[in-house]
Amino acid sequence: MRYVYLAKDDLGKFIDLLKEKHRVVAPVKKENLFVFADISGGEDMSLEYIPTIIPPKKYIMPQKESLGKFDMGEVSMKDTSIEMEPTVIFGMHTCDIDGLECLDVVFHKDPADPYYKKRRKNVTIIGYECMFPCDEYATCVTMDTHVPKAGYDIMMTDAGDKYILHVNSKQGDAIIGSGNIFKEADQDAIKKELKDLREKKLPKFKRALNPGYKELQPLFEKSYNNTGVWDDVGRRCVSCGNCTAVCPTCYCFDVYDDVKLDMSGGERGRVWDSCQLNEFAEVAGGENFREERSSRQRHRYYRKFDYPVRKHDKFFCTGCGRCTRTCMAKISLIETVNDLAKGEQDV
């Protein structure tokens, strides 16, 4: 659509402008890490951050949510509609935007998930481009998510004493149109400036995965029986479920009924689930399809690098590095994938 400038000194005013009509959530510091949280002003947020503990998917697919209420003896549910005030997710990294695009593919597929759809419609995404790699765990270069492409309403790029804002949707345009802090300029000149900034940025981003983008899925196609790698990962894994909870593309949930104390009815809800947990693949009769930790870990990797590519033509790994960062057993996605590639060479 179009590009405008925002002076860095006006960042606080930008947040104030957004807050007139939206709830604004942004990365804030939590101990030595970061989380997305409500902010009351620009001073609350930390725009220079490594990926938050849980990705901002929590605003569209909350950890736990009510799906509706029921009365005992009634077949149909009531109170199934949800309310969500217009919300701006401010400062989202490109990896997390990619993650949201993965969830969109899954939840918007016919029949769309009404809860997700409603929340998603009420969310405006203002991205913040990474000009430096966050840490040694990210694989965004291989996953091709380190440069903004799509999926946002506005993208902000640091350009010294100002930000370049790429306005990418009607929603974004309406926000820019409602304020007087944005400076219009020659579009070609801004584009050129952005191009130069990215040329300087890209050499700083190094590839961590040995297989390239196009080699990844074929590698997984051949690695299912690489027991050396999967057994090693399984032995170290404690099945804490951290890797899936922090993944921007994991979307499995469990549905539960919570009955009221007077037993007259109750609430049906859903809560995030994880394929890493022992109970996940257990079915009636007690059979468990993935009893071993190694098979559960393998399943996770295949749900990122193989199955979704076949089904949705899209990797469900955004390269954010959260699964590696959060793993107390230090199971590393980079090591696992590179080990698989090494095994492939040995064969």
Partner: protein, 256 residues
């Protein structure tokens, strides 16, 4: 529920324990009143003086230690339709299991020095090692949210199965900074959830008070603790604190 419907009669019993789990129930406030719509409490030493031997559900709190306790809990089992092991002393053996590190003489010497001629040390066991237990509510102390959930589920005839996933699951959903991240050591990865990650959410490490999972990653957790500089003795101590009885039982089973 109609007025004339027969209420379920509930009784509470305590054995070797601090009665802290029963005390938790007195914090239920209005939820307690809600429960009383379906239940009648017939014995509850912590909160009332009346008592009765006619009950449907027995909440058994505490570990079973002496011969006399065995007889008493067998009688309770005979009287009750449903027996619930309530709190970790009852459901796991809990901290009482630490007593198993010592011989009878040593234990008496340490605890009852000078009075050990007329006091017994006993052998602490979880309730299910003595009588059949229908349902387990873990925790030290038990968590009221889970207790309510379990009681509702039992009253509905569905029984109650505690979660078989680790505390980390509930901790991460709260977006806590992992204690391992802060250089602290936590038993969360091998401990049964259901407490809402109570301790880690308030900055304390998990002591495994709800007991190990059905299939804990003992090797993974051991390697993990070693990575953080813990010795085998330290690690055994961490597993022992609440899980001694279960670990003894597993060793016994292996021998057979």
């Amino acid at each position: 529920m109609s007025e004339d419907k027969k209420k379920v009669r509930i009784a509470f019993f305590d054995f070797a324990d601090c009665e802290g789990c029963q005390l938790q129930l007195t914090y239920l406030n209005e939820n307690f009143l809600g429960l009383l719509e379906h239940c009648e409490i017939v014995s509850f030493r912590e909160a009332m003086s009346e008592r009765s031997d006619e009950y449907d559900i027995a909440f058994v709190e505490g570990s079973i230690t002496r011969k006399h306790d065995e007889e008493r809990v067998r009688k309770i089992r005979e009287n009750a339709k449903i027996v619930i092991a309530y709190g970790s002393c009852a459901s796991l053996g809990g901290v009482n299991g630490l007593r198993r590190r010592f011989s009878d003489e040593e234990a008496k010497e340490i605890v009852y020095k000078g009075r050990d001629s007329h006091l017994e040390a006993g052998w602490p066991r979880p309730v299910h090692e003595v009588v059949k237990v229908d349902h387990f509510i873990h925790g030290c102390p038990s968590n009221n949210d889970e207790t309510i959930k379990a009681v509702k589920s039992i009253l509905l005839g569905k029984g109650y199965t505690p979660p078989d996933y680790p505390v980390c699951v509930e901790c991460k959903l709260k977006e806590n900074v992992c204690l391992f991240e802060k250089g602290q050591v936590c038993m969360g990865p091998v401990t049964r959830a259901g407490c809402g990650a109570w301790c880690p959410s308030w900055g304390n490490t998990c002591y495994s008070c709800r007991g190990l999972l059905d299939d804990p990653a003992e090797q993974g957790q051991t390697e993990l603790l070693e990575k953080y500089g813990y010795t085998i003795d330290d690690i055994t101590e961490k597993f022992d604190l609440y899980n001694r009885c279960r670990m003894d039982a597993e060793k016994e089973a292996e021998k057979k």
